[in-house]
Amino acid sequence: MSVLVLDAGNSIIKAKIARREDGELAFPHAIRPLTESEYQKISSKTTSTGNTKDYLKVNSKPYVIGESAERHGLLVQRSGTARYNRDYYGVLAAAAMKRLYGRGREISVFGSHPPGDVKCRDDRMQSVIGDWQIETIQGKANFQVTYANTFDEPVGGLMNVLLTEDGRHYQHMGVGEGRALVIDIGGFTTYFLAVNPGGVVDYSLARSVPLGIQSVIDDFEESFRANNLEAVIDTSNLPPARVRRAIATGIFEGGGKEYNCAADVEEAIILFLNCFADSYQRLAGGDLSWDTIILAGGGSALLYPSVKPILKHQNVILADGIDALHLANVRGGLKLWRLYEMLEVL
């Protein structure tokens, strides 16, 4: 049976299925219910190109998700355990199913969860299990999720480094031969997870701190607003997609102009790095306890050039390529699923 691996992070939703081409996706964590008339108005005026896939009906209820949702004004983005129900986590999972598979089928869902949310595993699994009727401008599809299970997010990043695609062998012995630390920088949280020689997770050092890329975004916005009062006076919320680009490039594009905001970005990142360095020393004990540091999570991709010097470790490896680092957890999740299948433990 097909499996959909889902990482519904606070910042980006990531998903993967076992298909080499077009088997992965990522879209901003944003969701907004629509009225029936709003949905009809949009679907009647759009063609099957562009961001029309962001508009969908799930079990007859209309929603907009992803970048298009970010453009629909004020969003209420749920974080933590409040999102684990069928109308939120379930809808995001349904959108991922439709986008990746296109046509309906029976599937399993293997969802990652932050280590701290392990107590909400049942809610998360119940949020996706069962029947889903999904309608987009591209067509309708019926899915049946007949099995759901979960895994720890940082374990996904670890498995992506450690295992081959079929989950049956080590692919990176450097990690397996010593003691490693996985650092997963997410939207709101950074996780530290210890790994013993041989790749065995040491759950006695599984810690998290409320620090993520979202704090960089918030600090950037505050700084940018303070330095560009006239430009932002009529804008209650800066468009999230433009903010993300600004943090990556140092240039904010908006209102037909380009704003050099490199200083604002630097200031926001320094605030993050101060807290990160403190957590790294306090929770993980600094460099000397580890043979390898593995960086995972979407935040690591954006902040890698700044975070690496803080670590001062000679053996820092990324859980995937810099452009695909945000997908490391779902890629590793699929490898872990394959290993579970081989061990017949599902």
Partner: protein
């Protein structure tokens, strides 16, 4: 860039069935299917065979696989052992598996 090649080896064809056994035996020993196929094809190239069809490829892979089995090199054996998941790791994974939810 990468490209996917796929084909079936049928139990109804004795040669293909035998090839499957060989592949499965070597995958079990720690070699990836990709490694076995790649190695076979490269050796086929070296032997300057111009007319390649799938049966020839399988024959070549079989002969290589049996050669490996009869004359294992020390470094290959070490390589295999190095990449086989350790018992400690497998025990740890099994211990950490949590129960899933199924529809009734």
């Amino acid at each position: 860039m990468s490209k996917v090649y796929s084909f079936r080896l049928s139990d109804d064809n004795p040669r293909e069935a035998q090839a499957r056994e060989v592949i499965e035996a070597w995958v079990e020993e720690g070699f990836s299917l990709r490694y076995v196929i790649t190695e076979g094809l490269l050796r086929l190239l070296k032997s300057e065979v111009n007319q390649i069809d799938i049966e020839q490829v399988i024959d070549q892979i079989k002969s290589i696989a049996w050669e490996w089995r009869d004359n294992p090199k020390v470094d290959e054996k070490a390589q295999k052992e190095r990449f086989v998941l350790s018992d400690t790791f497998v025990r740890g994974v099994k211990k950490s598996v949590q129960s899933g939810t199924r529809t009734m």
